[in-house]
């Protein structure tokens, strides 16, 4: 959440301001990702873009339930988690452009973007790698009594890797304040979840680790936010970890340029009809009387923010070639 975001509401129904903040986060993420898609197709920078479009409610809802100083570990599809955690879009864009002003000075790129000032411990190129790291951040929180919690975002694909199972077991036996958030977008690259997952749902695995399991509609920011608050409260109170599965969908392929021929047009259309931003907008209009104009302005603001971000990135210097050997270790080695 941005610095200005209100703290999570203490009562069940979020306030109008909270809902607007969640909506703004989703709109910002979508604007960022759509801009990235355009830039990748134009060849503005190297590498692939794993876009979060369609899944915005998960990052917004979960991070909306966190404190600024809580920790997050992310995935190869990590831009949304960064933005929801309050990472600066201009520095992010500069990182994607490989510029010296990027969040990681151009050394990490899209797949390894991180901002430790915001508790964003890193996107990750290795599926499942963020889960044990989140356990460690939670261990720090527990041993130092900081009251922080850690969130590990991961996909349905990662729920089949050893690191997932070891992390859930470790977090349970050590009662770590960690929330495992599965973004089930139904595909691990091109492989459908029903092919790869032995359980019906990822959350079905929670009882085996004696931790609470929660399921949220990942295309409904209200539902994600509600479940995330419940999970965060549980973890923060010292009761141990929670597994929260959010059912969601990615509108693009695995990466920009993947035509996603492994799924039907009808399926894509069905999920798009349940779009998280459309539903949130409808809710804000109907339940809180938010004017269409205000929502349009929010979207326009996000686009302006992206213009600024791209201008910042394009106007930033590339790293010096000496940077190749800089920072391999924390001091200069002989």
């Amino acid at each position: 959440m941005p610095d200005t975001a209100p703290p999570p509401d203490s009562h069940a129904t979020p306030s109008r301001d909270t809902l607007l903040a969640l909506h703004a986060t989703m709109v910002l993420i979508r604007a960022f990702e759509q801009r990235v898609a355009t830039l990748v197709l134009k060849g503005a920078f190297s590498g692939v873009g794993h876009l979060y479009v369609g899944e915005e409610a998960v990052a917004a809802g979960v991070c909306g339930a966190l404190r600024d100083d809580d920790y997050v570990t992310s995935t190869h599809r990590g831009h949304g988690h960064c933005l929801a955690k309050g990472v600066d879009p201009s520095e992010m864009m500069a990182e994607l452009f490989g510029r010296a002003t990027g969040t990681c000075k151009g050394k990490g790129g899209s797949m390894h973007i991180a901002d430790f000032r915001r508790g964003m411990l890193g996107a990750n190129g290795i599926v499942g790698a963020g889960l044990p790291i989140a356990c460690g951040a939670a261990l720090t929180a527990k041993l130092t009594g900081s009251g922080r919690v850690a969130v590990a975002f991961f996909g349905d694909g990662a729920s089949n890797i050893g690191a997932f199972h070891e992390s859930l077991n470790l977090a349970a036996v050590w009662k770590l304040p960690v929330i495992f958030v599965c973004e089930n977008n139904r595909y691990g690259e091109a492989t459908p979840v029903e092919y790869a997952l032995s359980a019906e749902h990822v959350v079905d695995r929670a009882p085996g680790y004696r931790m609470p399991g929660l399921m949220a509609d990942g295309q409904d920011v209200l539902d994600v936010f509600a479940k995330a608050r419940e999970a965060v409260a549980h973890a923060r109170s010292g009761e141990g970890p929670v597994l929260l599965e959010c059912e969601t969908y990615r509108y693009f392929g695995h990466f920009v340029g993947d035509p996603a021929r492994y799924r039907s047009a009808d399926e894509v259309e069905w999920f798009r009809s349940r779009d998280c931003i459309l539903r949130s907008a409808e809710y804000l209009q109907q339940q809180h009387g938010v004017a269409t104009k205000q929502l349009d302005e929010m979207a326009a603001d996000a686009e302006r923010r992206m213009d600024e971000a791209v201008a910042f990135a394009e106007g930033s210097p590339l790293p010096e070639l000496s940077e190749i050997m800089a920072g391999v270790c924390s001091e200069v080695l002989r």
Partner: protein
């Protein structure tokens, strides 16, 4: 206690840990059975082991379950957690009981710990020590007897040390714990009982520095961990051949102390590199290439390598005993240079 206090390599490890844990509350120890009998405090059964090699006896009693953490058999989980703890303010010492187990948990070390500082543009440090046991000689065959230190030294961002004696074990472990980068600390199982004078106070032996374990004028024998003592034995034997051998103890594989190696070889004009690891793409080949590339004009003969064979470590006792470099082989290799 006197200046001549003698303790073992095993006790030196415990002492380094104890002193650093007293000095800095951020230092924790985690791994499988580092206490042993976890959760059985009420029955007085905790700390049954103090580690599979009993280096950590007394630490659980002094520091408690919050800082001496027995883990499930879950190397990927707890090594990854150690990385997460390190990037959020702790200074974990994570034990990997046998280096051979790295096969189930390489990612946290290779892709996460090693690269986090670099890939973050220098915005995070990973003050993680992975203490692990290496080497053949205890009858445990191929899956519990490898060196693999050069495997870690191959990865940019990892520091790798392999102490050869109790004094250096304490100094290097203290340095590793205080270091802001991930350090792989390799303990050769056959060195755990080695004893010598070790000062009681905390001290660091700097990572990245080799030492001259024995000065000599005619040939440089280069070893690390257990092969340093093999080199010293060979040097003693070479006296009978009228050869005055110098022994360089590498101590650190990464960063490698190129200056000390090259300076010694330039003095003696001859080099034998002794390495218990597998020969292909290994430590010996790397050091030999360094010498050939940088000190060729000072050499009076080819750089010799004495390594283990390129084979898994065998179980049967005579085969295992014949497997690693020994003083006879080192002496013979040196003799070929004269």
């Amino acid at each position: 206690m006197t200046a001549e206090r003698i303790i073992s390599f095993r006790e030196a490890i415990a002492e380094a840990l104890r002193l650093e844990m007293r000095r800095d509350p951020a230092v924790i120890l985690l791994g499988e059975d580092v206490a042993g009998g976890a959760g059985r405090d009420a029955e007085g059964l905790s700390e049954a082991w103090g580690g599979a090699f009993a280096e950590y006896k007394g630490l659980y009693t002094e520091f408690g379950a919050g800082r001496v953490l027995d883990t499930p058999i879950s190397e990927m989980g707890y090594l990854g957690a150690a990385v997460g703890a390190a990037i959020t303010g702790l200074r974990p010492v994570a034990e990997l009981m046998f280096v051979d187990f790295i096969g189930v948990c390489l990612d946290p070390i290779m892709n996460q710990a090693a690269f986090a500082h670099y890939m973050s543009g220098g915005r995070v440090n990973v003050p993680l020590t992975m203490l692990t046991h290496v080497g053949a000689g205890v009858g445990m065959a191929a899956q519990h007897s490898k060196m693999l230190y050069s495997f870690f030294a191959h990865i940019p961002g990892l520091k790798v040390v392999a102490p050869s004696s109790a004094y250096h074990a304490k100094g290097l472990l203290t340095a590793a714990i205080r270091d802001n980068d991930p350090v792989v600390f390799c303990v050769h199982k056959l060195l755990l009982g080695q004893s010598e004078h070790v000062p009681e106070e905390p001290y660091e032996f700097p990572i990245g520095h080799a030492r001259i374990a024995r000065p000599g004028a005619d040939v440089t024998l280069i070893g690390a961990a257990l092969t340093t003592s093999v080199c010293l034995q060979a040097a003693k034997a070479l006296e009978a051949d009228g050869i005055d051998a110098e022994v360089v103890d590498l101590l650190s594989l990464a960063p490698l102390d190129e200056e000390t190696i090259l300076a010694s070889v330039r003095r003696t004009g001859r080099a034998v590199v002794v390495d218990e690891g597998f020969p292909r793409c290994g430590l010996a080949a790397d050091v030999a290439a360094l010498i050939a590339g940088q000190a060729f004009d000072d050499l009076d003969g080819p750089v010799k390598m004495v390594t283990s064979p390129h084979a898994p470590v065998p179980f049967s006792r005579p085969l295992e005993l014949a497997f690693p470099p020994n003083a006879d082989r080192v002496r013979a290799a040196a003799m070929e240079l004269f």
